[in-house]
Amino acid sequence: MIIEMREFTRVEGNGKAEIVIEDGEVKDVRLQIVEGPRFFELLTLGRHYYDVPDLEARICAICYLSHSVASVIGIERAFGVEVPGEITLLRELGLIGELLESHALHLYLLVAPDVFGYPDAIRMATKHGELVKEGLALKAFGNRIRVMVGGREIHGINVKPGGFGRYPTVEELERVEKESEALLRLARRAVRLFAQLDPYGAQARHFVATDGYLWGERLVSDEEGAFHYTERIEERSLVYSFAKQSRYKGEAFFVGALPRLLLKSEMLTPTAKRLFEEHREKLSSGYVSYNNLAQAIELVYALERANEIAKTLLDRGIEGENVPVEPREGEGIGYVEAPRGVLIHHYRIDGSGKVAYSNIITPTALNHAMMEASLLEEARKLYGEADERAMIGRLEETVRAFDPCISCSVHLVKF
């Protein structure tokens, strides 16, 4: 017998799952990504490098800047271009804006309705209007940073190899400094709310993140030594899904806010670090549902870090100069932490500046096997115990904890 879950709601993109029951037991779970393939790597082949980040941004609306930045870093590494601290800080600020926008969307509009028993945030707003408004305030602030750094709320083209089209003004940075401080109170309240929830889903055994907090030169895991994705991560196609599955040394693994906290807590800002320590025991259990709590702690991190960056840039002043980029034959990988986890853009570029090879692996594709494992574990716990509707509801929450971005997962290519 197969129990079919209808397409997931309150997630980005189109996916569903089948629960396979044999002899009264849950035998298997198949997570089906039904979103159509989008062939982004094919789209960029033969394109001039300058146009590529703008195209790659279109992979995902929720995390377009992560894609732009990963793409730009991949291109710069291929050409051996190094950018100064000012540009690096502004890119980081952009990623922080994206983290705020994306986590606030996920926690307040997609997950919170489960916590309070509503089908959506709009209906939840009648009784919990303050909370919804707080979420929207954080989200709007994140988006203002995205407009400032990325050019617009969705699919901006301001992030370029070698720098930016336009640099922020002093007034804009002062506003970031002020608002980030004012909003911190709301983020701390979110941590209290999401710390109360009981764990569900599987306990992840392997965690992977970039070696810096929001990007890196390589990846790190719960085992020793930084590595390139090609050394330990393998992808394979499935017959029932448009997304491929990735495995770390043959096993399911977890990328996202929880892995970031667990692997890189020493890089956190003061209040975020204190909150992490306070909840360390819970988080270390590795239950995927604690990704929600981890995201809430990251809201605090993002606001504190945005404040630091704005202060630093205001102190030293913005020069607003791009680094010249000369195309040459080369290969580069951009590793970025998109809000929902590790994002990889890998390019080879020819001497005339055209893309000759391109591989993109998104967090949702990396988490695919872990999502399936979590559904299986949760279904085994609940089948026969809870009624079918309650079980399916909880399974959907389990998927939601990953903050999956299904549209992004469907365009992997290998040559």
């Binding site: 709601t9 159509g36 609306a61 089908p119 959506d120 969705i154 699919h155 301001n158 196609s237 290998k414």
Partner: protein, 246 residues
């Protein structure tokens, strides 16, 4: 009091941005909800209660059999259907990969055939008649708000009929095509975005699709050639967001 109009949002294959952009209306979304009741909106609500919609917004391209079925359902059950965003109106970037679907699938998934019934990505307007087409990758959120308010008042929404250049001039941005020699598609692209990319000092990439009528793509082509861009580059640039026309 008048009954609220029933509003549905259907997402086919896309980046999620056109659905997300509705949530980015913030307080205006609550204004909208004075006139509309959302009865289907996958990304935002777990409720799905309609079989008849006054207004349906459809985003994305038709890229699978599932998308096509969903689109037909949306068309058959709605009074007023809006193709929302450049995927739905012109195919956008994912529609611009010019290979047959078999070859594309083979490049990605190997020789395993087509078990999930993927189709070549085409815009919504290729399959059904739409009542309004609102392009943009993403569209301007103020624009969708205005369109929905117009429909509620019984006014037929107006389609913009001027290029991005007009908005660029109104904002007094420096012309990046003439002054910097950047490839800017502003002169031949549908306005309505407030020339947001030129605000960043960068060229318009044509994400709202080509403006039909009295525009001069041949002239744009000549300008870009004179600036030193080669044929292939220009042609690909022209076709990136728009292989189809609504």
């Amino acid at each position: 009091m008048m009954d609220k109009l029933k509003l549905a949002v259907f997402e086919l294959t896309d980046c999620g941005g056109c659905a997300l952009n509705i949530l980015f209306l913030y307080e205006k979304l609550f204004d909208l909800l004075e006139f509309y009741e959302i009865t289907e909106f996958h990304m935002a609500t777990s409720l799905s209660e309609g079989n008849h919609y006054d207004v349906a917004l459809v985003t994305g391209t038709v890229s699978t059999q599932r998308d096509l079925n969903l689109l037909k359902e949306a068309r058959n059950h709605s009074e007023y259907l809006i193709a929302l965003g450049t995927c739905a109106t012109h195919g956008s970037v994912q529609g611009s990969v010019e290979l047959p679907i078999r070859e594309k699938l083979k490049a990605v998934y190997g020789d395993g055939g087509n078990p999930m019934r993927a189709l070549d990505s085409k815009p919504v307007v290729e399959y059904v008649a739409v009542d309004f087409a609102l392009p943009g990758c993403p569209y301007d959120k103020e624009e969708v708000y205005q369109v929905l308010m117009d429909i509620d008042k019984g006014i037929e929404p107006v389609r913009k009929d001027y290029p991005v250049c007009i908005e660029c001039k109104l904002n007094e941005y420096e012309c990046v095509l003439v002054k910097k020699g950047l490839p800017c598609l502003g002169p031949i692209t549908y306005g309505g975005c407030k020339a947001v990319c030129v605000r960043s000092g960068l060229g318009c990439i044509g994400c709202r699709g080509p403006l039909p009528g009295e525009v001069n793509p041949a002239g744009e082509y000549e300008i870009l050639k004179d600036l030193g861009y080669d044929d292939e580059y220009i042609v690909r640039k022209f076709k990136t967001f728009a292989r189809w026309e609504p």
